[in-house]
Subunit: 531 residues, 2 copies
């Protein structure tokens, strides 16, 4: 298969031995953009072998090299800004500006630089010392290579070779095998080239970053279960995520998944009265952002039945319908929306309003549907099935008790939002709906749209199953996101000179450490008979 | 089934509706000690329902009540010290003194008190604030009831209703359903009674602690997958653990498992020469502690082939054989040892020496077997299969490279130990074997036996699969062990007065918090437009 793009394995761009391939397609025009290989099992095996070798070379690597790589890679991304934006725009139909050039790419390089600082400062290792017992522990990399599967909707910030999972895995000292998303293989190829160049410049092993475009489902499942893999990270559809999870779980290998989220929004009556117009504009813009193809897109809107509520829903539908429909990432997203509308309709939802289809090859009319809360409570599964894209569902409750029941029936989500009035008139309702809602989501917002995931230490881009695989971890927010690739290593009666510097009595790195009950950067003294 | 012991469900001791039962047996004499029910599905359902109700009542409970419960329970355990030790000794054949009365029971009440302090001080919640973004996050309980399955070998310190998992689950604000180990149901019954009394005295909900003795495997698997369950914790055999894990994994519910560990020990040549006699005594005593029925019992001993090594092995075998064989916890442990010896023999190991059987009804002769490292490398799976009890395997390597290969072939373990000389003659060998060994274990010891798990913050009682289910968590060591039952909750643009006190700007609890890059107990100011 000479015409297919090469893969990056063991430090070399080599032609794939694939017998199957796929085409990258411009979703706006349907134009073919290139042919990419579906890597067969022997190519996956070669990447795993090289990744395992690279991990061995990385053991005890100076974190400053890791930081230099991440910083150098960020610089290279910024330097290639226009090219990257243009390549990704052609593959995804996402806007060059402001979306890609002003928002997503700068966010991506900033995230890589934050990860560089975390690696250099060891801010993720959480040292704990119990000097009287002669015991110390800290977080160290889970041994092995990390596999990262990127999603279709963020060609940079969540890309397997440049996004948050990649940054976290590298910052904890891991080589990465990135699986490109078939929606933007060309973008991923350019990124891989920049990454490999930066790794080389930093003096890291050639297999520090490897990239393949696609595998069979069976080979992907085998990869995440392989003993040479430290852990895997996946962002994408629930069905593919659950298949990978099942395989990794049986093998006892950690896998972190971000799978699906409908991001419920509750608009309380006081907020409707106080600032309904503003909320309409905010919500309409949020739920159409990237044609609704955000992990945190507000897909499920809860209201109390009232004249105000009906008016709000009409205004929201009008705003949504009046906005030109964007181009979707691909045919799969369009099929997903058609399926979601059918499922929701079968469960009793009706279309409130819908705009015209857009000009793109893959486009779906901006649509708002509606269902009453009693029906929602009768069909919680169907009506919470994700419609990834520009289709939203409003749920209208007869009263606050019914609304509260809806909150309790929610699946795990990344986010939820409550709009409440500033004058206190919603406070009692807030106290009723917030606690059950809080339990089902990773991030609770007030009076603000959930799209836009700030890359700050306090961020949580995670949530209860099935939004992710474990509610204790986050994919965004440094240093917390790094913890996913770490194992707890404890040293008992190990002489001080054999301890890693993070745990030595003199605290040569000047870290803040937990010394029994206290957080301090002071040195410690091992008790007699210990260490 | 009127004669079977009652179960503790929803705050009441009620007769079980069981149609099946089992007998508690004194392993020293075979004497029957009581009849206990195998709870059917409807009893498990009743416990789950009551546990879910109790969790709702615990939402926003003042942590001082949780602390009062744990402290009060610890006091009650200390107050019943002699009775508890006698009851457990009859059921397990473990010595009243020093094992139960002077070591395990005080350790258990100390652990409950440490958990009480962690609950009151919120030392586990890890607040993170990003004031410029108006975002804050912390760890909060995963909603629901926690199921704890206790092992046979520690009737107190790991008991489902008094051990480390129980303490951690309660300290994070969870009601617990404890599944007693069938090896000591009477002890567990007494503990449950003390726990329920303490919970009642602290004003906690009646279903704060519930206890059943046994379920069918299918009902146990359904329980850990139930949506009302926050998470589960299990300590025991690998086969039962993996069955529970499979069920919980499919449902996306966290489960923490401590399953098996052979705890490799490496004795380097310089250490042999320098202090072989002391190491013989230390190791013999450690591997026979509790008749070898410790999770951290050193079951696999690596040596280099030499005259010194042969002499060491002879001396170790002599010491082990000369020690009277203890009584095992039950027939299952004895069958396990018979099976392990067969598996090891079939793979090429031979018996070096063996003492006489002990007087107990269930007893196995103290035995040391031996195999060369080449054979070990040919049969890594069979020769690493756990022999839970007083049977150990010595692996003799031809040289340091072969020893290093053995290290790399190890499965995940809780601990590993390296004995190295103080004069520096082993330093080069240490540097060769320690790194591969380090990656496979949770706790690395030097010159010290692994039995004895100090309950201190820096402890790690965890390790890579299959020792546990995830290498990032520990079952012992507070506050780290509490993290297992926590979810990450993030608040974005939520007004300060609606935040939990842990995250409020003024820091009313005086906690040390991460404020972006800094750990501080100072108040913060939300930036304009945030919170």
């Amino acid at each position: 298969m000479t015409e297919a793009a090469p893969v990056l394995i063991a430090g070399e761009w080599s032609p794939s031995s694939a017998s199957e391939s796929f085409e990258a397609v411009d979703p706006a025009t349907g134009r073919r953009l290139g042919t990419y290989p579906v890597s067969p099992a022997d190519e996956v095996e070669a990447a795993l072998r090289a990744g395992a070798d690279a991990y061995r070379l990385l053991t005890d690597v100076d974190p400053s090299l890791i930081a230099a790589f991440l910083d150098g890679y960020a610089d290279r991304i910024d330097g290639a800004l226009d090219d990257l934006a243009a390549t990704a725009a052609a593959e995804t139909a996402l806007a060059v500006a402001p979306r890609l050039r002003e928002a997503e790419i700068p966010r991506t390089s900033d995230q890589l630089r934050q990860a560089a600082r975390a690696a250099a400062a060891r801010s993720w290792v959480e040292p704990v010392l119990s000097p009287s017992a002669g015991i110390a522990s800290y977080l160290a990399p889970i041994p092995g290579v990390v596999c990262v599967f990127g999603p279709n909707n963020f060609p940079f910030a969540f890309n397997g070779i440049s996004g948050g999972d990649f940054a976290a895995a590298v910052a904890t000292g891991h080589p990465v095998i990135a699986k490109a998303n078939p929606g933007h293989p060309g973008t991923t190829r350019v990124l891989a080239s920049l990454a490999a160049d930066a790794a080389d410049a930093a003096g890291l092993p050639p297999a520090m970053v490897q990239m393949i475009y696609r595998t069979s489902h069976a080979d992907g499942a085998r990869m995440v279960a392989d003993p040479r893999v430290a852990a895997s990270a996946y962002t994408g559809s629930r069905s593919a995520g659950l298949a990978l999870k099942a395989s990794a779980d049986v093998a006892g290998r950690p896998i972190y998944l971000e799978m699906s989220s409908v991001n419920p929004v509750v608009v309380l009556p006081g907020a409707l009265a106080e600032s309904g117009d503003r909320i309409v504009l905010d919500l309409a813009s949020s739920l159409l952002l990237g044609s609704g193809q955000f992990c945190t897109s507000p897909g499920l809107i809860f209201l109390l039945r009232s004249a105000d509520g009906d008016q709000f829903l009409e205004a929201l539908t009008a705003a949504v319908s009046a906005t030109p429909a964007g181009t979707l990432l691909g045919s799969g997203v369009m099929d997903g929306l058609i399926g979601a509308r059918e499922r929701w309709s079968a469960a009793g939802a009706v279309v409130v309003g819908s705009g015209p289809p857009g000009p793109g090859r893959f486009s779906y009319p901006n649509t708002v549907m509606r269902v009453d809360a009693a029906t929602f409570l009768d069909h919680p599964e169907e009506l919470q099935s994700e419609a990834f894209g520009n289709l939203s569902l409003a749920v209208v409750a007869a009263g606050i008790e019914e609304l509260e029941k809806c909150m309790a029936s929610l699946e795990g989500n990344l986010t939820a939002t409550i709009y409440a009035s500033a004058d206190g008139s919603d406070d009692s309702a807030y106290r009723q709906v917030a606690p059950p809602l809080r339990q089902h989501v990773g991030r609770l917002l007030n009076d603000k749209v959930p799209t836009g995931v700030a890359v700050v230490p306090a961020m949580n881009h995670g949530g209860p199953f099935p939004a992710t695989g474990h509610p204790g971890f986050t994919a965004v927010g440094i240093p917390a996101s790094l913890r996913r690739f770490a194992m707890l290593q404890c040293f008992d009666n190990v002489p001080d000179h054999r301890l890693p510097p993070e745990l030595q009595a003199a605290n040569p790195l000047g870290l803040v450490r937990r010394v029994d009950e206290r957080l301090t950067n002071e040195p410690v003294t091992w008790q007699p008979g210990a260490g």
